[in-house]
Structure formats: structure tokens, C-alpha cells
Symmetry: C2
């Protein structure tokens, strides 16, 4: 097996070609990749069957088995997602600003690819194709290290994608799948600071903390989404209830689902009994502070851990607060910097909430579930950042590039006097 | 002495107030800081004299003594620089994009402060005031750890700045000077991943590598500037010579000075003898490859190390190349990703050079010395990044913020069907 540093260096060497590829060539490549995935359906599904068999034998839970499972329809979905990336605008070469300086030099800020991006992720085999498509479209080389449970599926998917690269006359090392599944190999990979420009870990908090704590290269990550919804005094209760149910129930395993409901005490007596019933009907367990519990039959007492928890399940923590300031103080204390929502009719309260909190996504009267690259108009999502550097919140193609300076002059110098006396 | 974690936590707690301060209040604060620096002139210069005395006793070189030295005129310059930051546009709250989604939610990308920024730097005491002004203007708290040589100067400067904070009713912990000069304290500081949002090291390559290798928080840095100038066949020789002299001679200790001159072989026979004479007159030592040496009397043979070196002195490496492709290949091999210049009359060659190289700043027919925040119109410079993440090239106020998402709706949800059946 080739060692990881050699693989990474080959990937980096192949990065120059993809960085300079014209938009139409990249789009054609992505469409060819989608075709290759469909052409390899039998191989990919057979590989996936091996993964599923091994996972079942290990006694892996049904939720994870479902994330791992591919079928013809899901594979078509993966291919369609790759095609959609081909349709997105190319961020590379975009001129974000252009201006002349007083001395006449013309300055442009222009987006360039980051270089080599390493993705480290868990079970879902669709990430292999999604991440490859997004990284390549933004002109980057990509190193993929998926979970061991999906190794056969990932290898088959990567083989299809690599064939499309070769057929386009590109070195297939620009997309490198790491098949060596030892954790020491991840460790070595994330310390290659002269080779890798960015690591994006996706998966459980344990994996992400391992990467963040050991990386010698920049990491963009989020540990968890403890998303809050605050219902202000005088809020539209129907609207607040709709946002609560959408936020909590529509996909509890998503990081943009609600984990905590805070309610102003002046609206609690009418709103919380309705909320309790609507949540109960939908199977949501309620963990409430003392004031809220008195108004929500069937709720249990919330601990401090409950208010800090990302349940990823049909469970919600509920608290009653004295006023907007108390809601802000609660959120500041427990925030994961992901997404916070205020439901209010008072524009001044809305602005105060937006300004007082510095989470990646802050919302007024909208569902936390819109905190998503697709929903916010990025076209696709490579991950979500709760690190306030480079990118904050859902990350699309643009987050896989950086702006640099391009300067055009006609011989301008800083110290003309220096030049004159010489020959 | 209070331990560093306690200091950092106090700084972080004070960050909320500065993050929410209106622009005019921040500008008034900065002007008061400039006044406080001038009011403390006697104290600051006395403290500086103590540093200079200790440095002389240690036998520190004259260049470093000069960087350390303050006088009334230099202090006025420092105060003026703080005032200039007050005049710059405030990046916080800037809406960079605004759009509606098909479902009617309104999305804005809005700049917010990064949070807590740690600056780790060497001798120059002016950095204490410059960095404080830039970080605070961008709504950030700042932890400053300057070099031991400047400790008395830095303490006196920080005391003046902190007085202005207190008089403005702000907690002065928002600007924290680390007076504990042990290297273990830096180590502890740069591992406080729950407290510090960004570390910017400025100084020698040794300090920067130490920070980069041990940090558990994001680092923005550049190790060195090995800036290249390539003179194309058919270039205007007078123009090429002016850019060469400005690039090499105007301030050899700056990271944006030229270190390597590459010349197309078709222009070498006429250009290099002129360049050799002009450089010689100005005391520049020439280290040349075989072909260049034959045309540059007095030059010595360049080693591979010379082409990789940041001389920071009146020394230049010179090479003759067969064509533009060879120049690009040379620069790709030796680049520090800082700044590269092409001198050419051929627009197609200029575009090829700009596209083939991915350094932070690429220039056509302009001096490498323009690779500077002030010269490129950023107003001021907190540092230069050769890391392709967050910021690439000179960094101004905007680089001390990040864009987040602000969403305003009227009750939109992702799964309306989910809501209906409930009570």
C-alpha cells in the first residue's frame, strides 16, 4: 500500500491542472462523472452489498445501515447531485472587487482555488461523490477518507469518478481515496502542512474533535448544532408553533433541527400547553425547567446537560425566560454558534436579538431548518462551519476558494528617486 | 501573576461589549487612545529607554535597536496611525449580499467580528498600538504578547490604551497585554481553542513556525517572502530596471522586496549587464546561475539555497530562463506564495503568468513593493497571509471579520405538511 504522504504529494502535483481548467471543461468532467456512476451501477451496488453485509454482521444499528445503503434510486440521486454541481456558477476567477489606486495601478480581488482539500467523513457513501464534485468544481484537488463501514462502496464510487478524470485527460490522482483505514493514517494526513490546504471533517463529535486536536493544517468544522428558538411576548402563536414543529420534527437527526425552545413568561401560559400537546402528538419528549414544566403536562425536569445537548432525536429542552435579555443570556451561555431563531412581532426585538448573538445563522420568524447551503441559496453544501474564520455557517463552492490580489501597472514604483541616479 | 487562561477568559468576556459598539463610539475610543499615547509621552519614552538600555547591555544588533527605539516623533507617528484607523470604514455590520429565496425568506450576508484575536510579535513596540487599534475597530478583543526586549515600552503603551478604554466605560480586559514572557505561556495561550478565535504571529520564521506547529486555534501567517520578478523577451528594459531597483533596493528588509530576478534568454544579453551595473552601484550582491553570471561581471555562483532564500538584505539571486514556461516552473518550485511580478509587453504572456501562479499577489509591470495593505488600498495592515484560507495576501480590517447569515421570514417552514395534522 502506498504511504499517505506519497499519495498526498501525487494529489497535490495533480492540483495545478484542475486549478487552471476552464469552467466548461470542469462542467463536462462533472457530467461525465455522473454518467460513470450510472454506468457502474452494478459494480457499485454489489460493493455496497458487501459493506451492508459486513455492517449487519457487526450488529450496526438500523439508522446507520440506512445511511450506508445504496439502491438504484439513491445512486441516481447521487449522480443527479453531481450534475447539479456542474450547473452552479464557477467561483474560480470571479472578480469580487476592482479599483484603481491614486498612482494608477489597477487592483483586482480574484477568487482562486484553495489547493488540496482533505475530507474525513463517516458512513454515507454519497459524500464521496458530493465532496469530489464540489472540490473539483472549485478547482481543488481532493483527498477523501471515508468511514471503514463504507469502504467497498466508496472504492467503487471513486473508481467510476477516476475513470471520468482519466478519460478527460486529467491525472486521476487529483481525486484520491484513502483506502488505508488506520487512524494513524488520518493522523499523518492531517499533519501534512506543506501538502494539504484544508481539512473538513464531517461526522460524529468524536471524529471531529480528533481531527481538530491533532491537525497541523487548517480545519473547518462544527461540533454540533444546539439550535434555539425564542418565542417573544406578543408573538403570533400559530406561527411560533409551526416553526417549532418544523424545527424539531421534520428531521430530528439534522444539525439544524431545534434542540431548545425558550418562551417569554407573558406568552408561556397560552403557548406552552398548545406546544406540549402538538409535540406530544408527534412523539417528542419534553424536558422542561420548572416554570415550563408546570405548563406542559407530561414533561420531565430539564438538567443543565439537557440545555447543552444536541439530542439529534425527538427530544426538546424547554425553558421560560423573564424577557428578551434573559433569552439572549441563555443562548449566549449554551450556544454552539450554529443557528438561533426569534419569533416576534416587534422589529426592535428582532434587531436586538440579531445583533446580540453572533451565531453563524440568526433568523427572525423562519424555521431553523433553513440553515442549510441549499436552502440559503448556495446551491450545494460541503459542510457547515461554526469556526469564525474563512467561512461561518453553511459552506458552498465559494467557501472552497479564497480571494487574492491581481495588480496591473505601467511601471509604477514606490520610490522613484531611488531609480534616477543610476545608469 | 494571573495565569494566562484567566486573562484570556476575562478578555473573551469583555469581547461582547466591543463587538456591539456602534462605529462612532469605536472611532471616538480610537481617537482617545491616540490622545492617551501622546499624554503619556514622558512615561512611554522612559520605559523605552529602559528597554534600550537592557538591549544594549545584551549586545543586541543596531538594526534591532533601531526597531525598538521610540522618540517623540515616532510616538506621534504611532498616535497618528491609530487616528487613521479611526477614519477607516467599519467592516462590522456591512451587508455584502442580500437576496430573497423563492419561498420568500430574505437572506443577508453580514460581517461580524471574529471574537478574540491573539497577536504574538517581536521587537517593534508600534505593533502594540497598531494591532490594538485594528482589532478593536473590527469589534474584536485582543491579546497582545510582544517581545521581551520591548516589554517596558509595550506595558507603558498598553497602559495608555487601557486608560482610554476605562474612560470610555469599557472593560480594559478587552485589550490584554501578556506580561509573562515565558515561552510556555505562549504555548498555553495558543492552545486555548475555546477562548481564542485567531492567532496572528509576526516576526522571525522561528517564532512563526513555533506558533504554527503548536497552535490548537486557527493561525494566519506567512513564513517569508521570496518574491520573484520575471523579465519577458521584448520587455521595456528601462521599466524592468526601475521595477528591479525599487523591488530590491528601496527597503531590502521588507517581505515584499525582490529576492530573485529571472530573465528570458532573448533579453538577457542586453538587460543583465545594465542590471548588474545598476545593482552594483547600489551595493547589491549578485548570486547568479551560470548563464546569468557570464553577463553580470562581479556576480558569484548561485546555489539552490540562494534561489530559495529570503535574503532581507542587499543580495539578489539571478537566473536566465528559456521561456515563460521555464520562468513559471522555477517560480512554482521556489515560491513562498507571497508576491510575483512579470515585466512584459505581451498581454497574453501577462495573463498566462497570472493564471499559472497562485501566489497571494501577482503583478504585471508593477513593483513588488506594492504588495502591502496600505498600497493596495486596505487602509492599514494587520499582517500578510500566505495561507490560502480566510485571507490571502495583505490583511486589513475586513480580514478581522467573517460573513455570517441573517435570515428574515414571515413564518416559512420546510415541511408545511408536517404542521397541519396537529392541534
Amino acid at each position: 500500500m502506498t504511504d499517505i504522504k506519497t499519495l498526498a504529494l501525487e494529489c497535490r502535483d495533480a492540483a495545478t491542472a484542475i486549478a487552471g481548467l476552464p469552467t466548461e471543461a470542469k462542467n463536462a468532467l462533472l457530467r461525465a462523472m455522473a454518467d460513470a456512476l450510472l454506468a457502474d451501477e452494478a459494480t457499485i451496488l454489489a460493493a455496497n452489498a458487501r459493506d451492508l453485509e459486513a455492517a449487519s454482521a457487526k450488529g450496526i444499528g438500523s439508522a446507520m445501515l440506512d445511511r450506508l445503503r445504496l439502491d438504484a434510486s439513491r445512486l441516481q440521486g447521487i449522480a443527479a447531485a453531481v450534475r447539479e454541481v456542474a450547473e452552479l456558477p464557477d467561483p474560480v476567477g470571479q472578480v469580487t472587487r476592482a479599483y484603481d489606486r491614486p498612482n494608477g495601478i489597477h487592483v483586482e480581488r480574484v477568487r482562486v482555488p484553495l489547493g488540496v482539500i482533505a475530507m474525513i467523513y463517516e458512513a454515507r457513501p454519497n459524500v464521496t461523490a458530493d465532496a469530489a464534485a464540489l472540490c473539483l468544481k472549485a478547482g481543488n484537488a481532493v483527498i477523501l477518507r471515508g468511514g471503514s463501514e463504507a469502504i467497498h462502496s466508496n472504492t467503487a464510487i471513486a473508481a467510476a469518478l477516476k475513470r471520468a478524470l482519466s478519460e478527460a485527460g486529467l491525472r486521476d490522482a487529483v481525486l484520491t481515496l484513502v483506502e488505508d483505514l488506520r487512524r494513524e493514517t488520518i493522523l499523518e494526513l492531517i499533519q501534512l502542512s506543506d501538502v494539504i490546504d484544508l481539512v473538513i471533517p464531517r461526522g460524529g463529535e468524536g471524529l471531529i474533535r480528533f481531527v481538530a486536536e491533532h491537525a497541523r493544517v487548517p480545519v473547518i468544522k462544527h461540533y454540533k448544532g444546539v439550535c434555539h428558538q425564542y418565542v417573544d411576548a406578543g408573538a403570533d402563536e400559530d406561527l411560533a408553533l409551526a416553526l417549532l414543529l418544523d424545527g424539531k420534527v421534520s428531521r430530528p437527526s439534522a444539525c439544524n433541527s431545534l434542540e431548545t425552545l425558550l418562551v417569554h413568561r407573558d406568552i408561556a401560559t397560552t403557548f406552552l400547553p398548545r406546544a406540549a400537546e402538538a409535540l406530544r402528538v408527534r412523539g417528542v419528549e419534553i424536558r422542561a425547567d420548572e416554570a415550563a414544566r408546570a405548563l406542559m403536562p407530561g414533561g420531565v425536569t430539564a438538567t443543565d446537560e439537557d440545555f447543552a445537548a444536541e439530542f439529534l432525536d425527538l427530544v426538546i429542552a424547554v425553558g421560560v425566560v423573564d424577557d428578551l435579555d434573559a433569552a439572549i443570556a441563555h443562548i449566549r451561555h449554551y450556544t454552539s454558534d450554529h443557528t438561533e431563531v426569534i419569533v416576534t412581532r416587534d422589529p426592535a426585538h428582532a434587531e436586538k436579538f440579531l445583533n446580540a448573538l453572533r451565531s453563524a445563522v440568526v433568523m427572525v420568524n423562519a424555521s431553523s431548518r433553513f440553515s442549510d447551503g441549499g436552502e440559503l441559496g448556495l446551491g450545494a453544501e460541503i459542510g457547515i462551519s461554526t469556526t469564525r474564520l474563512h467561512s461561518y455557517g453553511p459552506m458552498g463552492l465559494e467557501a472552497l476558494t479564497v480571494e487574492r490580489f491581481v495588480v496591473r501597472g505601467e511601471g509604477q514604483v514606490r520610490h522613484p528617486a531611488l531609480i534616477k541616479p543610476g545608469p
